[in-house]
């Protein structure tokens, strides 16, 4: 399916391009906008970004695959990112990851069948002082324990 930036995002992209002396530098910003619009970075998205920024498809692909936050496949409506790095691990982050895995019945980087949830084990998110934490889409939830994680999951399920 062909991808085109909607008008709002196209304007935003033009602003981002104006921040740099060369168009190519806007590639990360362009990919962020595309991901906001379509949820993930498809081949069509990369083609469009390459076209607009006068890059080759390979250059764009190189950027997409270098960074972990560009989704290379569709993720769930609620993308759960659980930090299991040292500071979180010391305060139970790894347990929370395992708990969510069991509860949703999915593995790392997988999506539930109803496309509601996806799970990712992430590296340090900068919440060490408020560990353990999970991020859901763009929001941080900090100072958690297992029962609070359950509450969060319940409330997300009910949100549908």
């Amino acid at each position: 399916m062909e991808f085109k930036f909607n008008e709002e995002n196209q304007n935003k992209l033009n602003t981002i391009i104006s921040h740099y002396p060369v168009k190519k530098a806007a590639v990360m910003g362009a990919l962020w906008l595309a991901q906001e619009q379509s949820g993930w970075i498809s081949g069509e998205v990369m083609k469009e970004v390459a076209n607009q920024l006068e890059m080759t498809l390979e250059e764009v692909l190189g950027v997409v695959t270098f960074y972990t936050m560009y989704n290379q496949k569709p993720m769930g409506k609620f993308h759960l990112q659980v930090c299991t790095n040292v500071s979180c691990m010391l305060r139970g982050g790894a347990l929370i990851f395992d708990h969510i895995k069991l509860k949703l019945g999915i593995d790392d980087m997988h999506v539930t069948d109803d496309k509601m949830f996806s799970l990712e084990e992430v590296e340090c998110m900068g919440s060490c002082g408020t560990a353990p934490m999970i991020a859901i889409n763009e929001d941080y939830f900090e100072n958690l324990n297992i029962s609070e994680v359950d509450n969060i999951l319940e409330s997300l399920k009910n949100k549908n």
């Binding site: 190519k24 530098a25 990360m28 270098f66 972990t68 010391l90 060490c128 763009e138």
Partner: protein
């Protein structure tokens, strides 16, 4: 005690409150001075970088070429991805305008017309907060063309935020530049250094968020005032992020040279259940860990920590109590660096994977005594053989943890190598006598 970077003022993130408390006076003062005076002032203050290497900020600025037609750039490093470090986000949230003011002064000092603040992608919320602060400052005429009128100067600069997308390595300055240019975030070979050949081949300076936030008070109150705070060789305050097994984890702004034990017991409330401390990593996960019995009298500044056998890094103190499984912790750290290696240099690409594999074997209880020597051997072969410092960052925790906690690790491994197939090595040798196929 005075706080420089995060003063206790309510709603300081609002531009009106910031101006009310003397905000942007330092910038105004700076624009009446020459650029050399400012660089000199910061050099004399002894301000050292807060991003990990603790390099003198003023000296770094003085590397920027004076006579050149090329455009100059300033990058503010807010990639903050070191496990155990969470200080920059406090600045974005609670004192963004002091950062902006510091940016204006620094940009003026090095004559950079364009400034990029590189913030890690995970900080969506903090990027929005910072963007709001920038918009407010633009609206008041503190940034952009209008600043000429506001400050009565002929200098102006533009400040943009560049959003990262999840790569630890982009906190390395040359990798940050590649990332900003729209390439994969591979570190560059140095020299040439960024001051000669940075963004798009132009002179560039890269400073940490916290470093730049320290600049306005230095210009306001003078280098002598700043150089008298904390340890003379590493003056000022540091944002210590305390995490792990402490009662009150969080960011504490304290003078350099504060005792590590004071940070843990006096400020962070000690260890839950009054347990003993097994291990402390004093500067973020890549710095050499200290044993619980090495902490007495250790001061938290670059020079003192070097003498104590570690390094200040980003000031992220990770505390582990006596019940911590150090093998698991080290395996997790090794996994992190394997995951974050950019795969450019062979020693790091392969070595970090080997470290992780061996440590995972140890976690499963299948390690042998020789594995500990193997860990040290692999780690020492990564160190110094890579383009950027991620090699050291991956090797240090392993090498120092295994050496300093050898007794602990020895207890977790068997003395002999056990193989799942009997005589496996021998049976795979070429021989004229056909051998039965090895079943794995």
């Amino acid at each position: 005690m005075e706080k420089i970077v995060l003063p206790d003022i309510k709603d300081l993130h609002l531009i009106d409150i910031y101006i009310h408390h003397g905000g942007f006076a330092a910038a105004k003062k700076a624009f009446t001075k020459t650029t050399d005076d400012i660089i000199d002032e910061v050099k004399k203050s002894g301000l050292r970088g807060r991003g990990g290497a603790a390099f003198l900020a003023g000296l770094k600025w003085s590397f920027m070429p004076k006579s050149t037609d090329k455009p100059k750039y300033l990058c503010i490093n807010g990639d903050e991805s070191e496990p155990g470090s969470f200080k920059d986000r406090q600045i974005f949230e609670y004192n963004p305008h002091q950062l902006i003011e510091g940016i204006l002064i620094t940009a003026y000092a090095i004559q950079a017309k364009i400034v990029y603040i590189y913030i890690r992608g995970e900080y969506h919320k903090w990027i929005k907060l910072m963007q709001k602060a920038l918009d407010d400052a633009y609206a008041r005429g503190f940034i952009g063309e209008k600043m000429k009128e506001t400050f009565g100067t002929d200098f102006s600069c533009e400040v943009y935020i560049h959003k990262g997308a999840g790569a630890y390595i982009c906190g390395e300055e040359s990798s940050l530049m590649n990332s900003l240019e729209g390439q994969r975030g591979y570190p560059r070979v140095k020299p040439p250094f960024p001051a000669q050949n940075g963004l798009w081949g132009n002179p560039t300076t890269i400073n940490n968020v916290e470093t730049i936030t320290n600049v306005p008070p230095i210009i306001n109150k003078g280098w002598e005032w700043f150089s008298k705070i904390g340890e003379p060789r590493h003056p000022g305050t540091l944002l210590f992020g305390v995490s792990g097994h402490v009662n009150k984890p969080g960011v504490y702004e304290l003078p350099t040279g504060t005792l590590l034990t004071d940070i843990i017991y006096k400020y962070a409330g000690g260890v839950p259940g009054d347990k003993k401390i097994l291990c402390v990593i004093p500067g973020g996960s890549s710095m050499p860990p200290l044993r619980g019995d090495q902490l007495e009298g250790v001061k938290m500044d670059a020079e003192s920590l070097k003498n104590a056998g570690s390094a200040i890094g980003t000031g992220g103190v990770i505390v582990m109590d006596e019940d911590t499984d150090l093998v698991k912790v080290l395996a997790r750290i090794a996994h992190f660096y394997h995951h974050e290696s950019c795969r450019q240099c062979t020693p790091c690409r392969e070595g970090t994977g080997w470290l992780e594999k061996i440590l995972k074997r140890l976690v499963k209880g299948e390690g042998s005594s020789s594995d500990l020597d193997l860990l040290i051997s692999v780690a020492t072969n990564i160190e110094g053989n890579t383009i950027c410092a991620l090699g050291e960052a991956a090797a240090w925790p392993v090498r120092f943890m295994v050496t300093r906690f050898r007794d602990y690790f020895e207890e977790r491994v068997s003395k002999e190598v056990s193989l799942s197939v009997k005589n496996k090595v021998h049976s795979m040798r070429n021989t004229s006598i056909p051998l039965a196929p090895v079943t794995r």
